[in-house]
Amino acid sequence: MRKRVLAVTLILVLALGLLSGCGKKTTTVPTRNTTNEAAIGIAQDFDSLDPDYMTAAGTKEVLFNVFEGLVKPNAAGEIVPAVAADVIRSEDGLTYTFPLREGVKFHNGSPVTPEDVVYSIERRWKDTDPSAQLAALSVISSVAAEDGKIVITLSEPSNEFLAAVMNAYILPAGYTQQETAPVGTGPYRFVSREVQHSLVLERFPEYWGTPGKLDKVTFRILENAEGLVLGLQSGALDLVAHLSSDQTAQLSKEDFTIAEGSMNLVQALYLNNAEAPFDDVRVRQALCYAIDKQAVIDLAFNGYGIPLGTSMFPSFSKYYDDSLTGYYTQDLDKARELLTEAGYPNGFEMTITVPSNYTPHVNTAQVLAELLREINVQVTVQPVDWSTWLDEVYNQRKFQSTVTGLTSDNMTARKLLERFGSDVGNNFTNYSNAEYDEVLEKALRATDDAEQIALYRELERNLTENAANVYLQDMADLVAVRSGLSGLTFYPLYVLDISTLEWK
């Protein structure tokens, strides 16, 4: 027994010694590579190297450099020709003609033929098992190759079609080794992969477009967030994306520049519009008036983030209506007044259910709880694990309110707005507004771009005016880049383009 007490005492002393070491920083300045290579830290392993089967955002982010479709996204958020040299859309919107670009080669050296393209499109349209098919390609009625051109006819006009073609990656016909030795047409080609450890890509010298500048890029998988920061500090990593402001604060300013992009998601306090008290528009508006978006960003995100007023983020610049951000400015008296009108003069109690594995959302909920206390709304923050959240909140809609971020995984804004239609399957907030449904239907049927933009903006305004949810911000995406490495480009998509990176 005496020995145990002694042991405990010793452990205590040791623990104190460890803690005292935390104050001082002993960093050796890592020197950068003399070779033309870079190491990038990522937080998760790849779910599949076969591009038609990858679903994880983290996988798409990296393999964006290896695969291309007939068209691909650019940093400005436009869809530009890639393997195709041009996109010709018929007047009625039913026929798309893609003349193939000259001299496009696969990573295995063979040229891209029209047969490869037809194979790739058909694979994504109907020839693989359903999990790999793209729903937006179901409007295709035929794909044909006619003297170096790919002609695709549709059964009905679709605004989503071109964005889907972007995700129909061009692969060599009949090649079956994609899972272990992927072959695409992108600026970087696959070299090797070690499961749960790393993926190595090298520059593809015969790329049709602007070639990559780095010879070799290694993606190192470090699932522990602290590991990523330590990797940067030790010099093992040159670039890590998606860091928190507390993590970037640990990096020295001489060795790293912190680039701030945005996550391209709409973080909001999503309210169950079908459940009391949030079925009353005045209560929802009261919450909007009570919450200072900037305070949330300052307290939970150290000031990084772009305030939003509706279900759209600034990267979709043509759809984004910035004037809605200031629609509700913090006004506690007004908020209390609205609550009194709605029959809650003494406030009420509410629960915010948050997925516990997303610290940013949990932190946001804590700040919201504190802000809402000012208008006498007592908030319980309820963290639940991710699968429970998906099941109960997102699928069964058994919740009062939640904090989460909604994204759009292709280049169209449709996903962000369509989900608030009354009868839409993923309308988990149960928002129901007749006017909204009417405009939404018109917007989805519109074939003219300008008309669609105007209608989308009308939808955004509708969501704001009716306070469908308390829209907060587009969260910042902080990227730590070792000094000397330049050319980092942000996309309105969740991708990391390594072809523009270079050592200066």
Partner: protein, 268 residues
């Protein structure tokens, strides 16, 4: 002959009383509201904020005051539940033996074979997270096996003693023998077991909160705070330091108290 002083007991009592005082103060008074976020992020310790502020700009001292109470409350009720049920099963199996002993002890073995943590997780998810009593229930059930095993051995060893036979000859029933004659004799073992269990409960609550299952934010508990502090060692080392120190003091004090009690019981 002068009795040697029981240093463990004295030190343990002093430390435990100190922590208890902190918890008591926390119930009635904190310098600032423990959830108020208006003091600036990561302010180092100062006279305004003795322990500094955390990532939301909350006063850590106020939260420690509040959190100590929460942690103590959870730990105490947990270990009481475990000790109560454990003593009952231990007494019954140890005293009567036979098939009841076999059945309960095998069940006990099965419970022990489970990693206690998983078991607690399972119970919390069954009862539903976010309720304070679910943590107490989960951890309390997890603590039963250790108590029942220790108590069974005690009761088993005592039941054949002469004073028990004596009591039985006097006409005492089983219930009376168990409660009046045997139980007081097991205190020598029960008390240290209780204090060790108490410390385990403090640490277990910390780890459950760590997983986001125990106390829900923005409520403060020492475990939850330490979990939060872990990611902020570089930005605000004082957060981990002061919450960690409080836990250390608490556990150390109770540990010494247990040791002291055992020595004390041994002396008499």
């Amino acid at each position: 002959m002068k009795k040697p002083k029981n240093i463990y007991l004295t030190a343990g009592l002093v430390l435990t009383c100190l922590v208890l005082a902190v918890a008591l103060v926390g119930i009635f008074w904190t310098p600032y509201a423990p959830t108020a976020m208006k003091f600036g992020r990561f302010q180092p310790p100062s006279f305004q904020h003795l322990f500094g502020t955390d990532n939301f700009g909350r006063d850590i001292f106020s939260r420690v005051l509040k959190g100590t109470g929460t942690t103590l409350g959870i730990a105490f009720s947990t270990v009481t539940l475990g000790a109560l049920l454990g003593t009952v099963t231990g007494a019954l199996t140890g005293y009567y033996g036979g098939w009841l002993d076999e059945a309960l002890m095998r069940l006990n073995d099965a419970l022990t074979a489970f990693p206690s943590f998983l078991l607690a997780l399972l119970i919390v998810s069954l009862v539903g997270p976010g309720k304070k009593y679910s943590v107490v229930l989960a951890l309390g059930l997890v603590f039963i096996p250790s108590f029942s095993r220790v108590m069974r051995t005690e009761f088993r060893a005592l039941r054949g003693q002469n004073f028990v036979t004596g009591a039985r000859l006097m006409g005492a029933g089983d219930a009376r023998i168990l409660a009046v004659h045997l139980l007081p004799n097991t205190l020598r073992t029960l008390l240290p077991a209780f204090t060790i269990g108490f410390n385990n409960a403090v640490l277990a609550e910390a780890s459950l909160s760590f997983l986001g299952i125990g106390v829900t934010p923005p409520d403060a508990s020492l475990g939850y705070m330490l979990a939060e502090a872990q990611g902020m060692l570089a930005a605000g080392p004082w957060y981990a330091l002061f919450t960690g120190l409080t836990i250390v003091l608490l556990v150390f004090g109770i540990g010494l108290l247990g040791e002291g009690l055992q020595n004390h019981a041994g002396d008499t």
